[in-house]
Symmetry: C2
Subunit: 193 residues, 2 copies
DNA sequence: TTGCCATAGTTCTAATAGATATATGCTTAA
DNA sequence: TTAAGCATATATCTATTAGAACTATGGCAA
């Protein structure tokens, strides 16, 4: 909920815009579905923490643009000062890997490869964002903070890539060992025929 | 739900045990509340994927020990082969940092320091676990997989520590600059009196 | 004309954390 | 002796959330 207030300090926006901006600016560490955005904007408006202006648009549907109020800024500031709660972890890849002995190592290899590949694309995206932030840093007082948040994502992705490489090595060793073992088995069974 | 099946492949356990084991073994990347554990065990039992045995205990309440069935093993294996979905991020510290320009840098410093300190304790815990895993690795076919999952946590924590240090440096610079600016302001306002 | 896409918003379902509560016993302190 | 605290063990409930599914407005292309 407070992410809406935070983003409205940058500029007034519609619910749809907020959804887009959340995805594009804080999406690597925060998520908010439209199922929450719209009802929460309504709540915030009722509480006098944002105001809504209806706009007619050419070629598009009519939209409600929300602006933060003084009251909203106060609420945001109060929230920002509260100690953050830790993230609740829920990493399906790791859970599947943890029980990996129940399946072929080839499957685990695929799971890890998929992650490594998709996160590589995100890493490239961070490089691009970094260049943009440098260009913007004179315009916005928030920019150093944005950069710090982005840096977290970058370091995390680098750690994931490193882990991915190590883990693929290990899994390939296990797969090789198993193949050997399977071949041994086959040989033995052939000899028995 | 499938984490329950996975852990029951290791040994039969009660719901309470499962809660403890989840916290202690996969807790750095997976969470499951008792609000899910009990209803899900019931569901799994109804589906014939686990069986329940009631035990009387001396000095403690009666307990239901669950064992995985063949059917349960099949379900687990099928689930393990499905491509994992990415984690939904929700990192409150980063969100609060992102909007840090709205508050004093001192508050942001506190938030980051708190994280660095608490994750340092987790890092020490990983070192301890690592020694244990080495000792166990002959006993369990799963042990290499457990080690890989633990390694992820370790690398992630190291990345967080690194980020924390960089970020505290940066925040301290901002705070210093602001203090200077505030003193300049004070001087100026004093001169105007 | 229909389908697709983008903008814009709403409702609904399934899932989850964690708070709260209950129950069984044992131990310790008042 | 009683109450509180603790561990084991389970169950219920509330608030929150993602994302699927849906509706609406327009424009453009097949």
């Amino acid at each position: 909920m407070e992410v809406l207030l935070g983003l409205l300090t940058i500029e007034p926006m519609s619910g749809y815009d907020l959804g887009q901006v959340i995805r594009d600016s804080v999406g690597h560490f925060w998520n908010e579905s439209y199922g929450q955005i719209y009802p929460n904007l309504k709540r915030l408006a009722e509480a006098g923490q944002v105001t809504a202006q209806t706009e007619r648009q050419k070629g598009k549907p009519e939209r409600h643009v929300y602006s933060i109020t003084k009251k909203g800024r106060k609420r945001l500031a109060a929230w920002l000062e509260v100690a953050p709660q830790p993230e609740i972890p829920r990493n399906e890849l790791l859970l599947k890997l943890f029980f990996g002995a129940q399946i072929s190592p080839k499957i685990s290899i695929q799971h890890v490869e998929r992650m490594v590949e998709s996160e590589r694309a995100f890493l490239r995206e961070f490089k691009r964002i970094e260049l943009e932030e440098i260009a913007k840093s004179e315009q916005y007082p928030d920019a150093p903070y944005w950069k710090m948040a982005a840096r977290f994502g970058q370091l995390e992705l680098e750690a994931h890539q490193r882990w991915g490489e190590e883990t693929l090595d290990e899994l390939r060793k296990i797969a090789k060992k198993q193949r050997k073992h399977t071949e041994k088995r086959k040989k033995k069974s052939h000899a028995e025929k």
